[in-house]
């Protein structure tokens, strides 16, 4: 059995400020990687999950931190999986607990859909404390050929 991570992969990284207006730049960065092999539907779902992860870091994790506080993002494209990591300097929270506690927001609620969108898209979704007092949001989406 050959697992997807033994295959060829490509990785790109970027760092942006705590600034919602950087979303266009983040999306452009994401789309520059050669993703011709990824089904378009999967790619668009991951692009949306990235936007939700980034804006979540700005609006929640970094809500009381200066604009210069960096948010680092890494994208690795494997043969049959997309792996996305987002590091922030926020206080952190228990993702599993939050997801369990939050039902889909009432149909006509204005907010609260970001994390649920990532959870629905990703096959693996974690948010864990890591080195340098940071948190890492990890999402993996696998796809068939």
């Amino acid at each position: 059995m050959v697992s997807w991570h033994t295959k060829r992969s490509q990785t790109i990284r970027t760092q942006v400020n705590t600034d919602l207006s950087q979303l266009a730049q983040v999306l452009a960065w994401f789309n520059q990687i050669d993703h011709a092999a990824v089904p378009r539907f999967i790619w668009l779902q991951c692009e949306l999950a990235l936007a939700e992860g980034f804006t979540n870091a700005v609006r929640h994790a970094h809500h009381n931190l200066p604009v210069e506080t960096p948010i680092e993002i890494e994208l690795t494209l494997y043969d049959q999986a997309i792996e996305l990591r987002i590091w922030d300097y926020g206080a952190g929270f228990d993702l599993e607990k939050s997801l369990q506690a939050l039902p889909w927001p009432n149909e006509l609620e204005a907010g609260g859909r970001g994390l649920k969108i990532i959870a629905q898209t990703a096959d693996v979704f974690h948010y864990i404390p890591v080195e340098q007092q940071r948190n890492c949001l990890l999402m993996i989406k696998t796809y068939g050929r």
Binding site: L23, A24, F41, L44, E107, R113, G114, I117
Partner: protein, 119 residues
């Protein structure tokens, strides 16, 4: 000339940096008596949950004023967002602006050409 039909055309990325302007435009339309409001998303390249949240807020406000808010021309990405959040079951989604206006012509006895606004 005052039409009760208003077409609002945002463009580019519809995220939290654009939502204020969109909401302002919709509120203004309601205050000017618009009862049929179409948010034409043809020029929107990307929408996130904040953009969707603004549309949901607007939908509530328009309904509360006795009007209807519809959307049209959603691209593949926006369709994914609507489906992931089940908002495709909440919003009336038209293929394009013409399809919306065709319905207005059929249902509105005093149909007048809509007022267009770019956001």
């Amino acid at each position: 000339m005052h039409s009760n039909i208003k077409v609002i055309q945002p463009s580019g990325i519809l995220d939290s940096t654009q939502t204020h302007e969109l909401r302002r435009c919709i509120t203004e339309a309601v205050e000017h008596g618009a009862t049929l409001i179409l948010v034409d998303l043809k020029q929107v390249t990307f929408m996130d949950s904040s953009g969707l949240g603004a549309l949901v807020t607007a939908l509530k406000a328009v309904r509360a004023a006795g009007g209807q808010l519809c959307v049209c021309s959603i691209n593949e990405q926006v369709k994914i967002l609507f489906e992931l959040t089940s908002m495709d079951r909440v919003f009336d989604i038209f293929p394009d602006c013409e399809a919306f206006l065709d319905q207005c012509r059929r249902t509105e006895s005093d149909f007048e050409e809509p007022v267009y606004s770019h956001v």
